[in-house]
Amino acid sequence: MNQEKLASDGYLNMELLRFTTAGSVDDGKSTLIGRLLYDSKSIFQDQIDAIEKASKNKGKDVADLALLTDGLKAEREQGITIDVAYRYFATPKRKFIIADTPGHIQYTRNMVTGASTANVALILIDARNGVIEQTLRHSYIASLLQIPHLVVCINKMDLVEFSEERFEQVKKHYLQFAPKFNVKDIHFIPISALNGDNVVDRSVNMDWYKGTTLLDLLENIYISGDVNHEDPRFPIQFVIRPQTDKFHDYRGYAGRIDGGIFNVGDKVKVMPSGYETEIVSIDTLGESLQSAFAPQSVTITIKDDIDISRGNILVKSDNVPLQSQDITAMMCWFNPRPLIHGGKYLLKHNTNEVKCVVKEVSYKMDINSLDENREDKNVKMNDIAKIMVRTSQPLFFDSYERNRRTGSFILVDEVTNETMGAGMIV
C-alpha cells in the first residue's frame, strides 16, 4: 500500500472501481491478479509466507502467486477455482474490488455473477494461442451483462519475444469479432503477468507500446458515466415510522436510488398506483439533503398521505419507466434443474416480487459460435437464452441496456427457494 498517501485525507476522496477477470485455465489469470496485488503492495507478509509454504509443499521453488486466489480447501486440492472470489486492493486514486471468476465453460454462472456489478472486464488472451473460443465466450458475457469497459490483456508476451507484430495480429483478429458484441469501450494491452511487464510497471521489453500500463488504465478509466443519471428511479425498500415523541407523525420511504437525481420539491409519481406528489425532504442520519443521486441510500418523505409500500417505485412525473406484464429477457440459467416451459417461478425485480410463468423460449445462444439456436430450446445450467415470461402483476422497468438495476431480475423456485436464473430485460 502506498502508505503516506492512503493514510492522509486524500484517502477520503478515492473512487471505487469494480472489475471482473475472465480467462481460460492457463491464461495466467490468477498470476495476473497475484501480480496486481503483489506489485501494488497489497499482499501482506503473512500471506506471502503462507503461499511460500504451500508452494514448497507442492514442490515448487518460487512462490506461486496463483495460490493467493484459491480460497476453499477443495479448490486448493483440485487446483481449480469453484466459486467467485472477491479481492481488494487500493492505490491512492482508487479502491478496487476484483470479482475473480473461474473460466471453465461449466462456470458461466459464476462469470455472470461477477460481471453483474463490474465497471470493467479484463479479458485475458494467451499471446501464443491468440483469440480462441473461450475469449469470445467471455467477451460475449461481458457485453451481455453490459460491462461498460473491456480491457483485453494479451498475456505471455515474453513467450512470443515481446513481438509487436504478434500483438497487432491478435488485436486485429479480436476486432473482427468485436462488432458481434455491444461494448462501447475496448482497450488492448500487451503484458507478461509472470514478469510484471505493463501490469503495474512499464515494460522495458516493449518500447513499441505507447499506451498505459494496466494499473494506470484501471486508475484513470472514466467511470462516472457508468451510472444512470438520466432516469430518476427510487424503489421503496422499507417504510420508516419512528413513532417517537420527536418524530411522531414521521413517515419516510427508505431505499437506494437506482437511477437519476431527486431534488426536494420534485414532482414525483408512485408506481403502480400512479399517484402524484412532491418530495418534502431527503433524509440521512446527520443531515438532510437538497438532492440525491444513484447509488445513494436515503429516506424520502412526501407531501401527501398516500399508500406506499415495499416494491413500489418512485419516479419523476415526466420520466416514467416502461410498464408490462409480458417481459422479454436474456436469461442465464444457474440451476442443475432445467428451465421449465410453462413453469411458474417467483420473479424478484428490484424490491418487488411477483409470480410469473414462462411463456416462450425464442432461442438458445450458442456461446461458442455466437449463433442463435432455434432447434434445441432446452435451457440447462449455464445456458443463455432469450425467453418471454408473463407476470401476475405489471412490472415497472427500464431496458437492461438503459439501467442495469431496474432492468434485471432473478427467478426463484418457490419450493426449494433456490435462485434459478438471472434475466436482463430486452
Partner: protein, 301 residues
C-alpha cells in the same frame, strides 16, 4: 470529487445501508451479532443510518466467552443503553456448564471454537431467522468466497460449494422453517476502509484500540495480554508494555501491537504501513491452513 459521484467510503456505506434495509424487510426475527470490536461497532453505526430517524429495529446478540476485556463489556453496555436496543447474551460458560461442549485444556486452550455451539443454540432458542455479522471478505481466504446473504441449513452449516448466485442488488433471503441466514453488510470493506470510516464519521470505539499500558507476554510470536485464566509456560515472561489492539476477540486469542498511537490518524498510519493481516494477529487462525473454513462450515461467525 465530481458532482454526482460518490467516494468509495460513501459507496460502501450506501451498499451496507441497503443490505440492512433488506434484512429488516426480508426477515421476521433478525439479530445483529455484536462483539464490541470495531467491525461490529461500525456495523451498528450503519444500522442506525439505515433506519434513522427510527431506532434500530434489530436487537443485538453477544456471544460471551467469559474471557473478555473488561473495557469491551463496558463499551457494549453503554452503547446498548444509549441507543435503546435490546441485547441478548449467549454464554459460552453456560454451554460448558450444561455439558454441551467440553472445554479445551492446556496452554493454548481457547473457547473460540466453543462459541459456535453457543451461537447456534442462541439462534435456535430465540428463533432468529437471520444473524447479521461483521465478517469481511478481505479478512481470510474462506471469507473471500462468502455471499452477502449466506444460507445456513437447519444444522447451521455452510455449504461453500453450493451457494446461491448473487447478482446486482437482488438478494434472495427465502428459506425453509428451521433454516437461517447469515448476512454480512461489511463484505466489501477492508480493514483500512473500516478505520477510515471510523475517522470520517467520528465513531466512538473502545479504549483498547488506543495505546495503553498492560501486562503482556510473548507466545509463538504473538503478544498476548495476561489474565487470571491464562497460564504462562515456564519460558514465558510477563512484561509491562505500551500496546493497543488491532482487533478485539476474547483475551486468549487477541494479539496486541506495541504502539504509542493515541489517536485515529496515528492508528490509520500504522495500519496502512502494517505488513501482516489482522487475522495474522489472531491465535485462532494459526491452528491450520483451513481453520476458518472448517469453523465456518460448522456454523461459526
Amino acid at each position: 470529487m465530481k458532482p454526482f459521484n460518490l467516494t468509495h467510503l460513501k459507496e460502501l456505506e450506501s451498499e451496507s445501508i441497503f443490505i440492512f434495509r433488506e434484512v429488516a424487510a426480508q426477515f421476521q426475527n433478525p439479530v445483529i451479532l455484536f462483539s464490541g470490536g470495531k467491525d461490529s461497532i461500525v456495523m451498528f453505526h450503519l444500522a442506525r443510518k439505515a433506519f434513522y430517524p427510527a431506532r434500530v429495529p434489530i436487537p443485538l446478540l453477544h456471544i460471551d466467552t467469559g474471557h473478555n476485556f473488561e473495557e469491551t463489556i463496558d463499551f457494549r453496555d453503554n452503547l446498548v443503553h444509549k441507543n435503546g436496543v435490546k441485547l441478548y447474551i449467549g454464554s459460552v460458560q453456560k454451554t460448558i456448564d450444561e455439558g454441551k461442549v467440553l472445554e479445551e485444556t492446556g496452554f493454548n486452550a481457547s473457547r473460540n471454537v466453543l462459541q459456535t455451539t453457543t451461537l447456534l443454540d442462541a439462534i435456535e432458542t430465540h428463533k432468529f431467522d437471520c444473524a447479521v455479522g461483521g465478517g469481511r471478505r478481505d479478512e481470510e481466504k474462506a471469507r473471500a468466497k462468502e455471499r452477502f446473504f449466506s444460507h445456513r441449513d437447519e444444522f447451521g452449516q455452510w455449504d461453500p460449494k453450493n451457494q446461491r448466485p448473487e447478482l446486482w442488488n437482488l438478494f434472495n433471503g427465502r428459506k425453509k422453517m428451521g433454516e437461517h441466514f447469515r448476512v454480512f453488510p461489511l463484505s466489501n470493506w477492508t480493514e483500512l476502509d473500516v478505520w477510515q470510516y471510523i475517522f470520517m464519521e467520528n465513531i466512538e470505539i473502545p479504549s483498547l484500540y488506543y495505546t495503553h499500558r498492560r501486562e503482556c507476554f510473548l507466545r509463538d510470536g504473538v503478544l498476548l495480554a495476561t489474565a487470571p485464566f491464562m497460564q504462562l509456560k515456564p519460558t514465558e515472561k510477563m512484561e509491562v508494555l505500551d500496546v493497543r489492539c488491532r482487533t478485539i476477540g476474547d483475551i486468549t486469542n487477541t494479539g496486541l501491537t506495541q504502539s504509542k498511537a493515541d489517536n485515529l490518524k496515528d492508528i490509520i498510519d500504522e495500519i496502512a504501513a502494517e505488513r501482516t493481516t489482522e487475522r495474522g494477529m489472531r491465535f485462532d487462525d494459526k491452528r491450520s491452513e483451513t481453520a476458518m473454513e472448517d469453523r465456518k462450515k460448522e456454523g461459526y461467525f
